[in-house]
């Protein structure tokens, strides 16, 4: 129901803007829309987790309902939707001032709202058809948002690259979908799961489907080697959009992957766990090694997102043996969304005030902008995994779950590789912290002043979230666990 309510809001906003040309109205209305979405998403999550309530929506048109059911909400989808909506809210709040010098803001907010709407749609979808439609909608709105500043060459190039690569991914997903439809005659998640459960021994055909799904959804999720769009798209997009991309859009890919793999292909039969674990470790390592020498702050954060995706993949890969691993991964999806969104938004403040993304020009900027600097520091420490901040807990649960695997050699090697990556990442986060806080001020930052209050509100909300989750992780851990169990539960 949320996306529906959403779409209406989007239209209202768009309409309003065209009629009145009162710019601030659009901004605040969009933010209000985001807030309502967030409130509804939280309510749904609450009902699903604590009330055992399942929301279901079937297409009223007969031809469509042949394809699938429509929407269905379980704990995982509700959990994801809350993450998507909350980061959307923060980004929208932040954009009010951040985007004030840009034109075409109506389109911007409509696209942003559409992006969040489609992300929520992906989360709530109950069949592959609905999922795919929303997935593409999410893609289209994010390509356009990356290219939003279309008079510059960099965003346009990045968006083109993103478009091409994501198109290949979508093709793969579409192929996999049609193969599944051909096999089972339905697109409904549960229908496919049941049909495949009754199927005989796994055939090569199904393995092909798995590979296509991992590769296809992997493009949005930015696993190596499908990641190269991300490191161009993130720096080129407006910062609020980088926060959205890094915080939640790539998680859309992770969600789709988790949903389809766990529901359709029991690991005990199909053994994709090894493959996902290798992908996870390769993704982490490649991203970290390249991140060590980046000079562009947003590009560095983009690589760090890839690293975190690797970590999440590692957690997902062991989800079938140990719910703890998947719980950690889901918890990390939440935490990483908050930390990375905050890091990007703070970097955006620096960019907004100083006008450069190069680390060499941002020396000492945090001293000039102490509030932004503190928030940025906390986000980087959380990304580093310093307790008691939220990033520590999710990393800890993932890595602990890996070590707890029954086979100590497998678990031990994977866990140690993950920990070495944690150490590598410490290196570049610490370097960034040193540059923005400790290095002598560069020429460009001499004049810098603190960011405007509207931007700071978004930063402070996210910072408080990091601290609260860090000091008392229990409720968030529990919800992540419920989310993880809901997707595993389908198997049993």
């Amino acid at each position: 129901m949320v996306p529906v309510a959403f779409a209406i809001l989007v239209f209202i906003v768009g309409y309003f803007a065209e009629e009145t040309r009162a710019r601030k109205v659009v901004d605040w209305l969009a933010t209000l829309g985001m807030f309502c979405t967030l409130a509804i998403a939280i309510k749904i999550l609450y009902k699903v987790v604590f009330g055992g309530f399942v929301l279901q929506f079937t297409y009223p048109i007969a031809t469509l309902s042949m394809l699938g059911t429509g929407l269905k909400v379980d704990a995982l989808s509700a959990f994801m939707a809350v993450i998507f909506s909350s980061i959307g809210f923060a980004a929208s709040l932040y954009s009010v001032r951040y985007m004030e010098h840009d034109t075409g803001l109506t389109q911007y907010y409509v696209l942003l709202l559409l992006l969040v709407a489609s992300l929520n749609g992906v989360a709530y979808a109950a069949d592959l058809f609905t999922l795919f439609v929303f997935y593409e909608m999410m893609g289209i709105s994010s390509y356009s948002l990356v290219a939003f500043r279309k008079h510059q060459w960099e965003p346009v190039e990045a968006a083109m690259k993103y478009l091409f690569m994501a198109a290949i991914g979508s093709t793969a997903v579409l192929l996999a979908m049609s193969m599944l439809y051909g096999l089972t005659g339905t697109l409904n998640f549960e229908g496919i799961a049941n049909a495949l459960k009754n199927a005989e021994a796994p055939t090569g055909y199904l393995y092909l489907v798995i590979a296509l799904l991992i590769g296809g959804f992997g493009v949005k999720a930015a696993i190596v080697p499908m990641h190269s769009w991300l490191i161009d798209a993130h720096p080129a997009a407006p910062t609020s959009i980088s926060a959205m991309l890094s915080g939640v859009v790539i998680k859309g890919g992770v969600y789709a992957l988790v949903r389809t793999l766990f529901m359709f292909f029991p690991v005990t039969v199909y053994h994709w766990d090894w493959m996902l674990a290798v992908i996870g470790v390769v993704t982490m390592t490649v991203a970290n090694i390249i991140a060590l020498v980046q000079e562009d702050i947003k590009r560095l954060l983009a690589y760090s997102s890839i690293y975190n995706i690797g970590l999440i993949m590692l957690g997902v890969s062991i989800g079938h043996v140990s719910v703890l691993g998947l719980t950690g991964a889901m918890f990390h999806v939440l935490n990483h969304a908050i930390m990375k969104a905050l890091a990007f938004l703070c970097a955006g403040c620096f960019l907004h005030v100083v006008g450069t993304r190069m680390l060499s020009d941002l020396k000492g900027v945090a001293r000039r902008m102490p509030i932004t600097g503190t928030c940025f520091g906390i986000s980087l420490l959380a990304l580093m995994g310093v307790p008691p901040l939220n990033g520590f807990w999710s990393k800890f649960w993932i890595i602990l779950a890996v070590f707890l695997l029954p086979d100590p050699v497998y678990g031990g090697i994977l866990g140690m590789l993950a920990l070495i990556n944690v150490l590598l990442a410490t290196g570049y986060y610490a370097k960034v912290l040193r540059i923005v806080w400790m290095d002598p001020e560069s020429e460009k930052v001499k004049e810098a002043k603190e960011a405007p209050p509207e931007m700071l509100i978004a930063l402070i909300i996210l910072t408080l979230a990091i601290l609260v989750i860090g000091v008392y992780p229990q409720p968030f851990f529990e919800i992540s666990e419920k989310a993880a169990e809901s997707v595993i539960g389908v198997l049993g």
Partner: protein, 673 residues
């Protein structure tokens, strides 16, 4: 104890730390007062637990209600979950708790008392510095997190404190990152950049050790699951259950895992091979070096070893597997002993006053590790534990004293190089005499605290015939005596250096420190004199509680016991040998550096062997350059080359992507076949 003392002693400084930026808005004096008050309250609450440990039972003041015995734990629910792990429903209980036992109360008091003294000293030492808000914030956070670390009743909560103190250490080492004076090493432009680099080096090197610690923690979790126990990381549970130990031993991982557990302390306490960060940590203000890098944070590693040796030993004892644990204890003892020697040799040639002290800290911590490891190795863990932690205490006192003395010298001369000092004896009498006491205690002059505690450690080695360890430890004692008095001689004796003379011509006379600085010096100096004589009382304190009762040490101090203690320290062959080593060390130092009869530069330049040795030691056995070359430059060069793969050309990206697809399919098809 005072009500809720085990909680409040760390919650108060942490809470006050958050308030400090706000207090700064009111008035700088309020801010300073708040910081001092926070550390004072921490000290009071920590100290209120001492009588409980002596009594063996916990009494809540003021109504005198007895709530439990030592070890006494309190815990609240923090993370509780029932999760499917490896297909079984597993209960994960992670409480936030405190454990009141001799070790934790001992450590909390060292942090509390020395922390308070150093906070007071900071009032004088850091007076007029800008950025005091930042200083007080990190100092208070440090005191709070360090007490959190030692009071925690489980490994995870301890790890939270463990990382926080590391963070404080990073920030405080790099405290003077704004300094614009030329850098002491050529790689950086300003001293500020150098300081920031030193802080980062400390953070990353200690984190490398933390990674090992995490692996060990996770592996213990694995073993608990395998043994069918619920997942818990409480020290008490680990100590009392043996299942996890047996499982680890069965798969042959007991020794690797326990040694990895020791990796965390190796990083934190700057032991070989992760010792290279501590000399650089001296870039921070002297108060920081004294509190964090001498008296407390670097002892966190010793604390954890003491704690875990106890856990491993007691669990191993009830499982009947002490023999299997021997390699662990041997490793601990040897790493400690080798580090003691390694660092002592480097201290002999160091040019900076504070670096001498840093090397000597590394070296002395080596002794503590040696005591803990050797004690457990020889199946007398209680003796090793008492000796190791007693040395920890005496070292905390005399090293804090030495650092604070160094601080007042640095304050007066504004240089850190010893060859730019000299002849300060008359100008700074209080500092001089207190520093001599500190140095003599470090060199283990009989009657001072350092002598007693070091004797106890050597005694253990001697008794059980660990000749190799004993020899190395005794030789190190001679080196220690040499560099201690070299330091005193270079700083206070001989003629005044050109630098000092020039300053005096400019009208900047060397002056004695203000009372707020010298009063803590005198207190610490008195403590370094009397502490050693209180040995049996410390033994009674340290062995209170039910765990040590079976280990032949009672908790009453009798005259007979006291006499036994004194004979053990003074009237044994080891005492005679130590005395000999002391003389061997002091005599050359006296002639070269105090009387200045022989010119050391001439001595070194004439003799080829000495020159080679000097270069070797001065370059820190080439370990530091090696680390830079391999880990820092090596990784960066590799990354630079590796990033070229990321061309940014769409064609290449798509081709790589397609290769990815092919690889995924190939893998799965391969699996099918």
């Amino acid at each position: 104890m005072l009500p809720y003392a085990p909680w409040l002693c760390w919650l108060i400084p942490l809470g006050f730390a958050v308030l400090i930026p706000l207090a700064d808005k009111i008035h700088p004096r309020v801010r300073d007062g708040l910081a001092i008050l926070g550390s004072f309250l921490a000290m009071v609450f920590a100290a209120s637990m001492i009588p409980d440990v002596f009594a063996g039972k916990v009494t809540i003041w003021p109504d005198g209600k007895v709530v439990g015995e030592i070890p006494y734990g309190q815990s609240v629910s923090w993370i509780n979950a029932t999760v499917y792990v490896n297909g079984n429903e597993t209960r994960i209980t992670l409480g936030a708790g405190v454990l009141v036992d001799p070790l934790s109360v001992f450590m909390a008091n060292i942090v509390g008392i020395i922390g308070f003294l150093i906070m007071v000293y900071s009032l004088g030492y850091m007076a007029g510095e800008p950025d005091m808000r930042r200083y007080w914030f990190w100092m208070s956070t440090f005191i709070g997190s360090m007490i959190l670390l030692v009071m925690a009743d489980n490994l995870i909560q301890m790890f939270v404190g463990w990382e926080l103190v590391g963070l404080c250490s990073w920030q405080l080492i790099a405290f003077w990152f704004k300094a614009t004076t030329p850098s002491p090493v050529p790689d950086f432009k300003t001293e500020g950049e150098y300081n920031a680099h030193c802080g980062m080096k400390a953070w990353i090197m200690t984190r490398a050790g933390d990674i090992c610690l995490l692996i060990a923690i996770a592996a213990i979790g694995w073993a608990q699951l395998k043994a069918g126990q619920p997942l818990t990381f409480k020290f008490m549970d680990l100590q009392e259950s043996t299942g996890w130990l047996r499982v680890l031993a069965d798969v042959g991982l007991l020794v690797p895992i326990s040694v990895l557990m020791f990796g965390g302390p190796v990083g934190k306490s700057a032991q070989f091979p992760l010792h290279e960060w501590l000399p650089e940590a001296m870039a921070g203000p002297t108060t920081v070096s004294a509190l964090i890098h001498a008296a407390t944070m670097v002892k966190a590693g010793v604390y954890l070893v003491a704690r875990m040796v106890q856990v491993f030993y007691l669990a191993g004892e009830s499982a009947g597997m002490l023999v299997a644990l021997k390699p662990l204890f041997i490793t601990v003892a040897w790493i400690g002993c080798f580090t003691a020697f390694l660092a002592a040799t480097q201290a002999m040639v160091s040019m900076e006053l504070k670096k001498v002290l840093a090397y000597s800290t590394i070296s002395q911590i080596g002794y503590m590790m040696l005591g803990l490891g050797a004690g457990a190795l020889l199946l007398i863990p209680a003796h090793g534990y008492v000796a190791g932690t007693f040395h920890l205490m005496s070292h905390a006192v005399f090293k804090a004293l030495l650092f604070l003395c160094a601080g007042s010298v640095l304050h007066a001369t504004e240089t850190k190089y010893m060859y730019e000092m000299g002849g300060l004896k008359e100008d700074m009498p209080i500092t001089y005499w207190t520093m001599v006491i500190g140095a003599a205690s470090l060199a283990a002059v009989p009657g001072l605290a350092g002598f007693f505690s070091k004797e106890l450690i050597l005694e253990i080695l001697w008794k059980e015939g660990q000749l190799a360890l004993f020899t190395l430890a005794t030789v190190t004692a001679a080196l220690t005596a040499f560099y201690s008095f070299r330091m005193i001689g270079l700083t206070f004796h001989g003629p005044k250096s050109e630098y000092i003379k020039k300053r005096e011509e400019e009208g900047k006379h060397v002056h004695e420190a203000p009372p707020v600085m010298w009063v803590p010096l005198v207190i610490l100096a008195v403590a370094s004199i009397v502490l050693g004589w209180l040995g049996p009382y410390y033994e009674a304190f340290a062995t209170s509680g039910r765990f040590w009762v079976a280990h032949e040490l009672g908790s009453e101090v009798t005259l007979e016991k006291y006499a036994h203690y004194l004979t053990e320290v003074f009237a044994t062959p080891t005492a005679a040998l130590s005395l000999l080593m002391l003389v061997i060390g002091i005599v050359p130092a006296y002639y070269i550096y105090i009387k200045r009869k022989i010119d050391p530069a001439e001595l070194v330049s004439k003799n080829v062997v000495l020159r080679a040795l000097y270069t070797f030691l001065y370059n820190r056995w080439y370990i530091n350059p090696f680390y830079y070359k391999v880990f820092l430059n090596g990784t960066q060069a590799f990354s630079q080359r590796f990033r070229k793969l990321q061309t940014g050309i769409l064609n290449v990206n798509v081709i790589l992507m397609l290769i990815g697809f092919v690889a995924f399919i190939a893998y799965l098809v391969f699996y099918l076949l």
